[in-house]
């Protein structure tokens, strides 16, 4: 009977397909059992010649067998493909422990720039804008309008670099005061702090004003581990109708926590700056010993010298005399008040990253820079 032969073929073919081990072998089986000349094909092709009552069962069995075998071929083929690919891929294996190549160089960040950005971002988050000012600056903004009248001792205490007038644009070359008179507002200096921007910014916009001013400053301090003739500061200025010394404290607490860790707090000590009154020196609780002054082994914490506090910046309430220089711009000390602060970026970076010597920031040694990304 044809149907029995079909069953036989189906079993035989299924077995052969199951044990085929290559795709080539499988192709051979496909030709042998399902090809044009295959017995099953012939049976199906000759179906019309069968007796009428057999046509139905033979056709059905034959087609079912064909479909089943096609299915088996396909799935076996997929299996074999996968395993052959696996073999091929295994042969393609490489040493993944070799370094990537060619290498893509990645530059290093500078710890000062990093710290400056971090400070800027903290204050941007607190609602401040970032302003910048000139480094070659008029005495007027650097001293006079900051309540350092000519002859004021604090002017001299700041160890100012004065610009040689003969090296300025001709219209700025005022007769040198030289030895005769103290430097006056028309003189040109390399700014000794970022504070000149307090007055420049207030001239440019009415209160309220909330700004920070990062930038480079200069003082005639010879190089040593904690001094450099060139250094960086961030100035802060907040002026409005009712800004208090307590607001300064709260603001600097937020800053200290953001930059030195969530447990930090600040404390104020009396200080003196001509352009703030009251003036304060600001300490942050030591982030190494937690403020106890002692390390876990009981020894004295060298970072805060056992005090538990580290001085980080100077600040205060803007002196009414400073508002006197911007009274034309809606700054009336009976109507508005506010605070200012100035911090050294190098100092913050030294504390934060444990840099022992300020000079390291300006050597630009790659071996140091590479530690910062």
């Amino acid at each position: 009977m044809a149907t029995e032969r079909i069953e036989e073929l189906r079993r035989e073919a299924a077995e052969a397909i199951g044990s085929a081990s290559t795709t080539a072998e499988l192709e051979e089986l496909r030709v042998r059992y399902l090809g044009r000349k295959a017995e099953l094909t012939q049976i199906l092709r000759g179906i019309s010649e069968l007796p009428k009552e057999e046509r139905g069962p033979v056709g059905k069995t034959g087609n079912e067998a064909r479909q089943e075998l096609e299915g088996l071929l396909e799935s076996r083929s997929a299996e074999l493909d996968a395993s052959e690919l696996g073999t091929r891929l295994a042969e393609d294996a490489i040493d993944v422990t070799l370094p990537g190549a060619p290498p893509v160089p990645v530059g290093a960040q500078n710890p000062l720039i990093r710290t400056q950005r971090e400070i800027e971002d903290i204050f941007v988050g607190l609602g401040y804008q970032v302003m910048e000012g000139p480094e070659v600056e008029l005495d007027y903004y650097n001293f006079t309008a900051l309540n350092h009248p000519p002859g004021h001792p604090a002017r001299m205490a700041q160890d100012t670099f004065y610009v040689d007038p003969s090296t300025l644009r001709t219209d700025l070359r005022i007769l040198s005061n030289g030895d005769e008179l103290p430097p006056g507002p028309e003189d040109v200096v390399l700014r000794t702090h970022t504070s000149p921007m307090q007055v420049r910014s207030m001239e440019s916009r009415p209160p309220p004003i909330f700004i920070v001013v990062p930038g480079r400053c200069y003082r005639s301090d010879p190089f040593d581990a904690t001094h450099s003739p060139i250094f960086h500061q961030v100035e802060g200025l907040a002026v409005g109708p009712d800004i208090t010394l307590a607001d300064l404290k709260g603001t600097l607490d937020e800053f200290a926590r953001a930059i030195f860790g969530p447990e930090r707090e600040t404390r104020f000590r009396p200080g003196f700056f001509p352009f703030t009154e009251p003036s304060v020196e600001v300490d942050v609780s030591c982030f190494r010993c937690g403020g106890s002054g002692r390390l876990p082994d009981g020894s004295r914490d060298p970072l805060c010298k056992g005090i538990g506090w580290i001085e980080i910046l100077g600040a205060g309430m803007v002196d009414p005399n400073v508002y006197g220089f911007v009274s034309d711009f809606n700054y009336d000390p009976e109507e508005i008040q506010g605070f200012a602060f100035g911090m050294g970026i190098e100092r913050i970076a030294m504390l934060k990253y444990g840099v022992p010597d300020l000079r390291k920031f300006f050597e630009n040694d790659e071996r140091v820079l590479e530690q910062f990304r």
């Binding site: 500078n110 390399l190 790659e366």
Partner: protein, 820 residues
């Protein structure tokens, strides 16, 4: 400013430990530098002794064997001092005591005799200067064995203070004590200037001396008293100990008194040997130009016309407020003393002191401006001591050449205003109390206090806000202020667009493999020369400093490249083989301006323009393998094209583009350098560093660029982009190869293609260069990838073919042809 603990507590003793006391001062008044010690580290082992007997040492001529009662009946001490004698009360160190120099005292055998301790000299105790013999305690009644610390400051804690320049009152121990009183409320001793000496001398002061102040504006007050029968000698031990504790060397009783009163009150004094002042006539005048004198430190100094001198008839006798002269110095032979207590103009003293490079304890106080009233206080205290310690007679009368003494300030303190400024409430009663403790006179009740400022705070406290600081700090910031955040901001915190794009540019440079450096912008005036920049170039005319620390840092840089060469050279010298650095920073030019706005273009807010032009630059340098080699391929050393790729990528990061055209710089390889154009504007240079410049910086070869950031930011669409539909009508891509004469630069070829391509040509990038037989000798083939697109339709083949024909025409104009 050194404040010996026992001296300070003699005026106000709040019964706190020295550490607590220092902390109170730091938190309410003045900065504390540190707490140190004068004398021995510990008073343990130092006692009062009574010398019972003295015998010559049997085997040593210069030694004596003494029996000393140190409270334990008697012990043998071998002593080398010539002045030791039975019956003396002396300081004794027992075995185990640690001496001021750190050595621990032990029993010792001296030439066979065991010594159980040591009788001490002033110098050994570090309470005086006398090293020639043992100290003899003059004060009687101290029982043997009494701890020596009860008699003299054997081991004295010293608080080292750093008063700010506005607090000249705290340059005197009594002023510091007043602060302790204000902070703690502990009672303060009566002011030492309340009393005065009885004048028992003959005649009146004008019989002996005269003073003529020719420069009253620089000498607001000059007071003088005369003492006769002065017996010069050493000061008593207690005085020496106080001076040494405060950091001064005892000299003799008269000089010590002047120093002591200064240390107590902040008012400096000066003693003249009256017999060395011809006719006792003093003249205060400004110096003649070049005038000279020899000061007490035996140095001859010359003056300018601003220096004020105290002169006698023959010439200068002292520099006002700074240092006396040798000519009238008090000596062992002095019997008559003229005591000067003056007030000088602080600014003038500061300037002269700076000019002479001579800073003294006196000038340090005078330069902060003392009130003329303090001078007479100084006279009164010193007079009492002169009588008491030198046996002197005070001649009646005081010479007092004084301009008008400034009137005390009368101020109002609104206590609610104080609260509004400080953000902490202080009871009006407390405010009043704090001010009174600080010696302010206060009247009025309720919320407005009427306040009179004491003389010692005259120049410091002139306004209500200064009073607010006083009550605020004494009340205590640390204890009483609770941090709050400002309630008004009125704006969004943000970086400006240019600040954000600058960060983007810096980050791009790092992503491209360059390290960010921050270099010193002060440089050497010889730098332009080392860069081969010829005279006449603006970069050879830097902004200079009048008072530089060194020539090496005496001018502002006019270009950033010098800083980068320095840093590259440093790193090469320290073993780096590949150096790729960039700096984002300013150059400083005396003149110049930018067509752009904003801080990157050197435009700053403020009514008065900035004195210089400070454009923001991005500059880079690379030396060695900019593209590093690996196990897989060769390295590519930094050259023109590699850094140009970096510059192009930088511009791309900002959404801008740069064009480079041939152009030279004296410090660049003449054939491998170009100008950088941004939207047609010359914005800087790019190129390989000139071999001679490389040699100057010990570099093999290097390439870099320096561009103004403002034009790049101006060209950047970042943040201002508008969406363009590139999907509905996609672009058609085509490649063309242009064969041209080798001399025609690529930028011209591209320009011709772009011209021919017209509006539909959206981009044209050179991607291949070929020279060889197929294009003929002296010619090259440049392949460009073109992208055509229209916003409103899909382009037809005909349209693209038309553009191609137009390109062919344009290329023909530069002598080129399209390769089929």
């Amino acid at each position: 400013m050194r404040a010996p603990d026992s001296w300070l507590r003699s005026y106000c003793d709040p019964k706190l430990s020295v550490e607590e006391l220092a902390d109170e001062l730091a938190m309410h008044s003045i900065e504390v530098e540190r707490i140190t010690h004068a004398g021995a580290p510990d008073p343990e082992g130092f006692v009062v002794g009574k010398v019972l007997s003295v015998e010559k040492h049997p085997d040593a001529d210069k030694l004596s064997v003494c029996e000393v009662d140190a409270g334990d009946g008697g012990r043998t001490i071998v002593c080398g001092a010539p002045n030791v004698a039975a019956g003396q009360t002396v300081p004794v160190a027992l075995p185990g005591a640690v001496m001021p120099d750190g050595t621990k005292l032990d029993k010792a055998k001296l030439r066979g005799v065991e010594s159980n301790g040591m009788i001490l000299s002033e110098a050994e105790l570090e309470i005086g200067d006398d090293a020639d013999g043992i100290a003899v305690l003059e004060e009687d009644g101290w029982a043997p064995g009494t701890p020596l610390g009860e008699v003299i400051p054997v081991s004295e804690p010293v608080i080292e203070l750093e008063p700010t320049s506005n607090r000249v009152d705290c340059f005197g121990i009594y002023g510091v004590a007043r602060e302790v009183h204000a902070i703690t409320g502990e009672s303060l001793a009566d002011a030492p200037w309340d009393g005065d000496a009885e004048a028992t001398g003959e005649g009146t002061v004008t019989d002996y001396a005269s003073v003529n102040v020719e420069a009253p504006e620089l000498c607001p007050r000059f007071s003088a008293r005369v003492f006769t029968d002065v017996q010069i000698g050493p000061s008593p031990l207690w005085l020496k100990a106080r001076l040494i504790g405060a950091g001064m060397r005892p000299i003799n009783n008269v000089v010590d008194i002047t120093n002591y009163v200064m240390l107590m009150t902040a008012q400096p004094l000066h003693a003249f040997d009256l017999d060395k002042v011809p006719d006792g006539a003093l003249i205060v005048r400004t110096a003649k130009k070049g005038e000279k004198m020899t000061t007490l430190d035996s140095i001859e100094r010359s003056f300018d016309e601003e220096a004020v001198l105290v002169c006698d008839r023959n010439g200068p006798s002292g520099i006002a407020g700074i240092m006396g002269g040798e000519v009238s110095e008090v000596s062992d032979q002095t019997t008559r003393v003229l005591l000067e207590v003056a007030t000088w103009n602080g600014v003038n003293i500061l300037r002269t002191s700076r000019k002479l490079g001579l800073r003294t304890d006196a000038s340090n106080r005078f330069e902060k401006q003392l009130h003329p009233e303090l001078a007479l206080r100084g006279q009164r205290i010193a007079s009492q001591l002169m009588v008491e310690l030198c046996g002197a007679k005070l001649v009646p009368g005081t010479i007092d050449e004084a301009a008008d003494v400034p009137k005390a300030h009368h101020l109002e303190l609104r206590t609610d205003r104080a609260e509004r400024l400080l953000g902490m409430p202080i009871e009006p009663k407390l405010s009043s109390e704090y001010l009174k403790r600080l010696d302010f006179q206060v009247s009025g009740r309720g919320k407005t206090l009427k306040v009179t400022v004491p003389f010692h705070r005259h120049y410091d406290v002139t306004r209500e806000v200064d009073l607010i600081e006083e009550v605020g700090r004494i009340h205590g910031y640390a204890k009483n202020i609770t941090g709050t955040l400002p309630s008004t901001s009125g704006q969004a915190g943000r970086l400006t667009r240019e600040q954000r794009l600058r960060r983007r540019a810096e980050d791009a440079m790092r992503d491209l493999g360059f390290d960010a450096i921050v270099s010193l912008s002060l440089t050497d005036p010889g730098l332009p020369g080392r860069l081969r920049i010829p005279d006449g170039d603006v970069r050879t005319e830097p902004i200079g400093i009048s008072n530089p620390l060194s020539a090496e840092h005496s001018v502002e840089r006019t270009a950033v490249i010098g800083s980068l060469l320095d840093a590259a050279s440093y790193n090469r010298a320290h073993g780096a083989e590949r150096v790729a650095l960039f700096e984002s920073g300013r150059a400083y030019l005396r003149d110049g301006s930018s067509p752009h706005d904003g801080v990157l273009a050197g435009k700053f807010v403020g009514e008065r323009p900035a004195p210089a032009y400070e454009p923001w630059r991005i500059a880079s340098i690379a030396t060695g393998a900019l593209r590093p080699g690996s196990w897989r391929g060769e390295e590519v050393p930094a050259d023109f094209y590699l850094v140009k790729a970096v510059l192009e990528a930088l511009a791309h990061q900002l959404g801008a583009s740069v064009e480079v055209v041939p152009g030279e710089e004296p410090f660049l390889h003449p054939g491998r350098s170009g100008r950088v154009l941004v939207q047609g504007e010359d914005s800087g240079w790019i190129g390989e560093i000139h071999p001679l410049v490389c040699r100057e910086w010990d570099l093999d070869a290097a390439a870099g660029f320096e561009v103004d950031l403002a034009p790049l930011v101006a060209a950047s669409p970042v943040g201002e982009e508008t969406y363009e539909d590139v999907i509905s009508y996609p672009a058609v891509h085509q490649d063309v190869a242009v064969i041209v004469d080798d001399a025609v630069p690529a930028v011209e070829v591209r320009a011709a293609v772009v011209e021919g391509g017209g509006e539909l040509l959206r981009s044209a990038e050179v991607f291949d260069l070929y020279r060889g037989e197929q294009v003929g000798e002296g010619r090259k083939s440049l392949a460009l990838r073109l992208s055509f697109r229209a916003a409103d339709r899909t382009l037809t083949d005909e349209e693209v073919a038309e553009r191609r024909t137009a390109i062919e025409v344009a290329v023909d104009k530069i002598g080129g042809s399209l390769r089929e």
